[in-house]
């Protein structure tokens, strides 16, 4: 019995090794890493662009996505299936295809693009384009995750809270939100990783200002692997901690 357990554990450990194997690339003999001014200056700028604009995109995702998720979670099954199918469409669309569609729709040829240009807002190769693209690629993930989080809060608890004299907004902040908060954090962390790591759509709509994924590509094309590695390490360390912490918290509090 004990031997069998150790055998299974060894199998899982082998699987973990396979999963972690790509990280061995960080210590591969590819020559000394480059971080001179020519590499560091655009790389640092890309870090600022990625962190600042992705944070802004996440604020928009949360502010717009949360009420939508509340609505979908509390609507009837048939209507909910329609909304979920629509959200899945945004998730399943290949990023490159989404980037091309966005650049056409928000370019001079698109209706919204014409309005934006008239208002003096550049909808391609601008911070607005960067944020807009990130919102498009990540909001579907956030809303679907948030719907699942709100689903985990029994409607009867909300009704009992209301019967205890709490107005709908108070019920949301005192019952619904606290009970769904870890699920919401998981949804946000998935959206964060999705937006921060987006390359296919962003490279079409916003080559400039370059975020980290696009800058990694530029560094690779212009200077080779040694110029990629420092930014790659920073990229990994900015993307991973938030979802990791959220994952562990979610494991500890199963009801949320």
């Amino acid at each position: 019995m004990k031997a069998s357990r150790w055998l299974k554990r060894a199998g899982v450990a082998l699987f973990a090794c396979v999963l972690l194997y790509p990280f061995s690339g960080l210590v591969a003999p590819i020559g000394p890493w480059r971080w001179d001014a020519e590499v560091a200056r655009p790389s640092m700028a890309s870090i600022r662009v990625s962190l600042g604009l992705t944070a802004l995109a996440m604020m928009i995702v949360v502010l717009a996505g949360t009420p939508i998720a509340v609505y979908i979670a509390r609507t009837r099954l048939r209507e909910r299936l329609w909304w979920q199918a629509l959200l899945l469409l945004s998730i399943l669309l290949p990023p490159l295809a989404l980037g091309i569609l966005l650049s056409i729709a928000f370019g001079p040829a698109g209706v919204a693009g014409g309005w934006l240009e008239h208002a003096g807002i550049r909808a391609t190769n601008s911070p607005a384009a960067f944020v807009g693209t990130q919102v498009y690629v990540s909001i579907g993930y956030y809303v679907l995750g948030a719907v699942a989080a709100f689903d985990s809060v029994p409607v009867m608890l909300e009704k009992h809270a209301a019967l205890l004299g709490q107005a709908p907004s108070a019920v949301f902040w005192k019952i619904t939100f606290p009970m769904a908060r870890l699920g919401l954090a998981v949804a946000l962390s998935v959206a964060w990783v999705r937006a921060l790591g987006e390359f296919g759509a962003v490279v079409i709509t916003s080559y400039y200002p370059s975020g980290m994924p696009v800058q990694l590509w530029i560094n690779l094309e212009s200077f080779g692997l040694p110029a990629v590695m420092p930014l790659l390490v920073i990229f990994i360390f900015t993307a991973l901690p938030f979802p990791w912490v959220v994952h562990f918290l979610a494991q500890r509090k199963p009801h949320a």
Partner: protein, 232 residues
């Protein structure tokens, strides 16, 4: 005074009842499983909406149009205590009183705590207490706001006889003190008889007999009721 005329179509039957309860009065709803007792309570509480009819209490119209739940001030207790698992016992009980609890309300909460024996679990999370404790907490939470109308939907199911006896005694004492009107549903006539002197008997969604317990026992309206009232 509670005046309720409720028509509610369910998949298996149509509930069609007229009820009147004097201010501070008490009425037991008794009948076989699936006769529509819980539907009536949930329609009065506002958890569910009647298809037709009207419900008013002390001159305030609950339906139609449906009054928002938070404006009703109804105490509603079911088999499931529906405690808020992320809050402590204390915060569950004071939940309906908002953030600014006055001296008088604090004293009332303390009385409920002591009377229901909740001191030991006062700071515990509601998700960590036993089923019997949760039931007592839900009673305290309901009474904390001193509701003028209390609806009890089999709140004693699954509890020890000892605890049921205690809770019935407490509820009767608080009913005298707060003078709330009360409707009680249970499948045990003995429990209902302890709480209310009058009973409305339901069968297939309709009230078929309304009288005192002694009258109902002496002359049950049909054989089914006679069977329900007979000891095991």
């Amino acid at each position: 005074m509670l005046e309720a005329r409720i028509r509610k179509r369910r998949r298996d039957l149509t509930v069609d009842v007229d009820l009147t309860i004097e201010k501070g009065g008490c009425l037991a709803l008794f009948g076989a499983s699936g006769s529509g007792k819980s539907t009536i309570l949930s329609c009065i509480a506002g958890i569910d909406q009647p298809d037709d009819g009207d419900v008013s209490f002390d001159g305030r119209r609950f339906f139609p149009p449906p009054m928002p739940l938070h404006a009703r001030n109804v105490g509603y207790l079911t088999q499931d205590p529906h405690l808020f698992p992320h809050l402590s016992v204390e915060r569950n009980i004071s939940f309906g009183l908002g953030s600014g609890i006055g001296v008088e309300e604090r004293a009332w909460i303390d009385r409920l705590r002591d009377r229901l024996g909740l001191s030991d679990i006062w700071k515990a999370s509601a998700s960590e207490i036993s089923g019997g404790q949760a039931r007592r907490v839900s009673v305290a939470r309901m009474l904390a706001r001193r509701p003028p109308l209390v609806l009890l939907d089999e709140p004693f199911t699954g509890l020890d006889r000892h605890l049921v006896r205690e809770l019935i005694g407490d509820l009767l004492e608080w009913k005298r003190e707060i003078a709330f009107s009360m409707i009680v549903v249970d499948h045990e006539s003995e429990i209902l008889e302890r709480l209310c002197s009058r009973v409305a008997v339901l069968s297939n969604g309709r009230i078929v007999q309304q009288a005192t317990w002694s009258e109902v026992r002496a002359q049950p309206v049909d054989a089914e009721l006679g069977s329900l009232l007979r000891p095991l």
